[in-house]
Structure formats: C-alpha cells, structure tokens
C-alpha cells in the first residue's frame, strides 16, 4: 500500500490512517539528514510537497493517537514557519486538544485560542479550532455562534458551512441545516454527497406531527429530487439510490391523496409534484440498481470495490425488506 503523502486521498479509512502514521517515525528521522552549510546553498530541499506531507502525517498521527510523532512533526513545522504562522497556530491548538484528557484541559485550550483571536480576529485556522473545542465541550449553541461569525467573514468556506449544518442538525434545526448545505452548493455545485445529504435531512425532518398529505408529499418529492440529482452527478452512488428507494416508496402511497388536495395557490411549491407513474418507475430503477450495486460491490468486482461494507449491508437489508413484503 503506497500513499502519496503530499496529496492524500480524502476520507482515509482507519487502515490507511494507521499505515500512514506508521510512516511518521521513519520520515522524521530521514528528513534530518541534510547537507552541511556551505553546500546546502546549492541544494533545494524546500519544495512545498515536503511540508504538505508533514501536514498529512501530523493529522494521521493525531488520528491514530501517536502523539509523540505528532509533537515531533509539529516542532519541525514550527522551526520552518515560525509560531506566527496561522496554519501552524491552528495545528498547535489541535495538538493541545488531542492531549487534553478532561474538560478542564479543554477549557485552557479554549482560553489560549481566545487570546490568539483577541489580537488577530482574522485567523481562520484558530477560529475553526475554537469551534472544535466548543463542540468537544458540548457547548453547541456557542459553537454555532462562533461559526456563524466566521462564515460572515468568509462565506465561501465550504468546510465551515458543512460543519455548521452538522451542528444545526445536532440541535434538531433541520431548516437551518438545509440552508447551510444550500450555501455549500452555491460554492460547490457538483458535490453529489451534499445533494444526497439535503435529501437525507429532508427525509428525516418529517415527524409524526406532519399529517397533511400535500405537505408530506412536497417534502418527500423535494427529498427524492435531491437524491436524483446526486445520482445524476455520480452514477452508482449507493446512498443516492438508497434514498431514492425510500422516498419513492413513501411517495407512491402519498401522491394519490396529495394530488386530490392540491391547490393552485401554493407559493412554496417550487416544482410540481411528480406523477405516480414516474415515481413507480423510479422506484423500480432504484431497486434494480441497488441490487446491482450490492451484488457487484459484495463480490468486489473490478471498479466496484470502493463501497463501505456497512452501507452495502444496509442496502441489502432494505432490499430484503422489500421482497419480504411482496411475498406476503
């Protein structure tokens, strides 16, 4: 297994993370051997890739609990970029957070972050660390407040929008969460996973208090369309088909009632409801496609081996439920 440390893959699996962090001690030792002074003038040993690799190693070491290597790498970064560098300051906070064992330690990290931001409020990495500390301290409302401040200054930061959406969702505020993801889509319009995420939030936002068939049908069809968009952007996206199957099943039952109740003055209806036939056809497509993904994904066929095992399992169970119902 070889990993390009300078350009690490996103969402590394735990196995890859362990593998990368095990490279760290070797990497730290090797990089110290450099030419002596007069000769070092003639060599170039400072390409950006080296430092990008250090960052990757640092993050993976923290993730796998190798705090000593992380400290060594951070010292290297400090020696190179100084302690006034924003990124390095962010990493320093991150390491302190990782070493903190109780709430009191975290409070002191928070105090440090507040001090830094008191003199330099435009320091984005430290601002993000402050939000993370507040989140670990379970002070979600304050975290949300800080994050909205950050996003007011930097509304093109997709990562922060996603984080804010998660925070809102953890507080059960799905409308706000969806707003954040819409903002994210304005920055990154082709993020298929975020389209699916909006679909998921919409689907989950329905609770027992909503009984109006028209309202339910509107939410489910909006959700279904989000899943469809994610499929359109990313063929063979398991979560997309899973969501499509769920929403289509609900819609098949709801649409006959909803279309009777439908009125023309619905200002909030951005798009008309789909017809029953269309939903039916989409449902069949989803079942077909899910079956294909589960089959090929479990067999780890060439080009189909990237699926998460848990997700495949969930899809299989969903399909089994469907067939069980038909048998009855």
């Amino acid at each position: 297994m070889s990993v390009d440390l300078a350009h690490p893959p996103p969402n590394t699996t735990p196995e890859t993370a362990v593998h990368i962090s095990q490279l760290a001690p070797k990497y730290i030792k090797r990089a110290t051997s450099s030419l002596p002074w007069p000769l070092s003038v003639f060599s170039r040993d400072d390409p950006p890739e080296v430092w990008a690799a250090y960052e990757t190693l640092f993050l993976e070491c923290l993730r796998t609990g190798d705090d000593r290597s992380a400290r060594a790498i951070l010292d290297r970064l400090l020696a190179r970029f100084g302690d006034k560098n924003e990124r390095v300051m962010g990493y320093q906070c991150m390491l302190e957070e990782a070493l903190a064992s109780n709430d009191k330690d975290l409070e002191s990290v928070l105090k440090i972050a507040n001090e830094i931001l008191g003199s330099d409020e435009a320091n984005v990495p430290v601002q993000k660390r402050r939000v993370a500390v507040l989140k670990s301290l379970n002070r979600i409302p304050e975290a949300i407040k800080r994050l909205t401040e950050l996003l007011d200054m930097s509304p093109t930061d997709a990562e922060s929008w996603a984080e804010l959406s998660d925070l809102y969702l953890s507080q059960g505020m799905s409308d706000q969460a969806i707003f954040c993801l819409e903002e994210l889509l304005i920055v990154q319009p082709n993020a298929w996973n975020m389209h699916a995420k909006i679909g998921e939030i919409l689907y989950a936002s329905v609770d027992s208090s909503t009984t109006n068939a028209l309202e339910l049908a509107r939410i489910y069809s909006e959700s279904m369309r989000r899943f469809l968009r994610s499929i359109e952007l990313c063929e063979n996206y398991l979560r997309g088909y899973y969501g499509l199957h769920l929403t289509a099943q609900k819609l098949v039952k709801l649409i006959p009632d909803a279309s009777k109740a439908s009125t023309k003055d619905d200002a909030y209806n951005d798009v008309a409801l789909p017809t029953e036939g269309t939903v039916q056809a989409l449902n069949e497509m989803a079942v077909d496609k899910l079956g294909e993904i589960v089959r090929k994904g479990s067999a780890k066929e060439q080009g189909w081996d990237g699926y998460d095992t848990a997700e495949l399992q969930a899809a299989r169970e969903l399909l089994d439920q469907g067939t069980a119902k038909v048998d009855r």
Partner: protein
C-alpha cells in the same frame, strides 16, 4: 577556397583557466546570490484585516450565487437575492462604509500601494547594482581577450554578438571574446539555475526584467468595492431562475432507459 582555409590562433592555455572558468563560476555564483538576496528582500504579503476579507468574500459569494443558482430552489434563491441586494444597497458588506461614494485614494498617498511599489523597487535596485558591478568587473579585467572557439561554423552576422570588445575585421566568427562570453552566460544559465535552485528561482535577472516590462498590469487601479457590489446586485436582479431539480425525474428515467 576561402572557407577551406582554417584560421588558427595560438592561445595561451592560461586564458582558459584564468578567464573562461572564472567568468562562468562568477556568473553562476552571482545568480545564486541574486536568488537568495531576492528571497531575503521579499516582503511578506501583508495580512488583510477582517473587514477587507469579509468584503472580498461576500462579493465572491454574490458572484457564486449568480453562477451556481441552478442548484437551489427558486424560493431559496429569491431569499438570498433579496439579502444580497439589501446589503449591497446599505453597504453593510463594505470594509469602510464611511468611505462610500468618495473617490478612490491617490496611489501615492495610499500606504498599501506604496508598500507594493517599494517591494518592486528593492528588487530592481538589487538587480541593477549587481549587474553594474559584474559588468564593470568583467570589462576592467577581462576585456579584449579571445578565449575560445566554437566547434561549429556561423554566419558573419554573429560577429557583433560573439566578438564584442575585439576590433578585428577578418577574424573567423567562431572565435568568442571574453565580454561576449559574459553575455552568453548572462542569458543562457537559466537551465543551470533551475537544476541547482529549483523551478521558481529568482536567479535570472533577464527573466525578471521581462516580467517587469508592464508594471501597469500588476497594479491596476483599485476598483471601488461599492460599485462592484451594485453591479453584482444588478446582475442578480436580471437573472431568470432555472431550477436544476425541475424535470430531473424525466432526465434520469430517459438516461436509465437508454
């Protein structure tokens, strides 16, 4: 036949050791020195204050909304458009709301612009000084020598380029004078610097001078952010919203059937 006749000049081999090699080595070393001095003189990009960043990014957000509006529903788009337009009208995104409507400050009195110019001046001065010194040194010590012979024939037009400082009319073009060797190394050492110092070095002053040919492109007149916001709001106003999720069922089913 004239060209069958080979011109021979007996040179002291010491010319080779004491002129050709010193010039080459000195040129390489000055290139490296220039690289490191420009690294030293480089002023760190100044950190933007919070409200400037905010102004800039809110403007980008408006532009993003104009480009990627298709991903969000018409009602969400209307809400965002209204928000952006009100803010543009009130000037609440501006870094300095009190300066609204005033003409942009003079370049010469604006400290930020001055700093940029100073940075360029520093680089220029370092360049000029080194160039003058080396050129003077070569001229004083090494002018008037013929130091090497090229292994290939050339047309007489190259005489001016290869035999600068040697005033003989009948000498073969293949002979190279010391001052010309200086110029050749001045222009031709870039690959060597790339090898020693890496791709983006500042060793070659010729390349730098090329880049400074049009300084106007680097420091365009500062645009009034208020006007930019107004223009962006207008762009959003005339936009007709189209929703990507409208008719997506048919699109997907058509793709599925095909």
């Amino acid at each position: 036949m004239e060209h069958s006749m080979v011109q021979t000049i007996y040179r002291d081999p010491a010319l080779f050791y004491w002129i050709l090699i010193p010039i080459t080595v000195v040129m390489v070393l000055t290139g490296i020195l220039r690289h490191y001095s420009s690294v030293l003189l480089q002023s760190m990009p100044k950190k933007q204050p919070k409200n400037k960043i905010r102004e800039h990014r809110q403007l980008i957000r408006g532009a993003n909304l104009r480009v990627n509006y298709e991903s969000i529903s018409p009602s969400s788009f209307r809400a965002r458009k209204a928000h952006f337009e009100t803010a543009a009208k009130d000037g609440s995104f501006l870094a300095e709301p009190e300066n609204r409507g005033k003409p942009p400050p003079n370049m010469m009195t604006d400290p930020a612009a001055m700093e940029g110019m100073m940075g360029m001046m520093k680089g220029n001065v370092a360049n000029m000084v080194s160039q003058t010194l080396i050129m003077g040194w070569i001229n004083a010590f090494f002018s008037g020598f013929v130091i090497m012979k090229l292994p290939f024939p050339l047309t007489p037009q190259f005489k001016a380029m290869l035999q600068a400082g040697v005033g003989t009319r009948d000498m073969d073009v293949r002979w190279v004078s010391s001052v010309s060797w200086y110029f050749l190394t001045l222009f031709g050492l870039q690959p060597i610097y790339n090898f020693i110092l890496g791709g983006d070095n500042a060793a070659n002053q010729m390349a730098q001078q090329m880049a400074q040919m049009n300084p106007s492109a680097m420091m365009g007149p500062g645009q009034d952010p208020d006007k930019q916001f107004q223009a962006e709001a207008e762009n959003l106003e005339v936009l007709e919203h189209k929703y990507l999720l409208d008719g997506i069922e048919e699109r997907i089913l058509a793709g599925w059937a095909a």
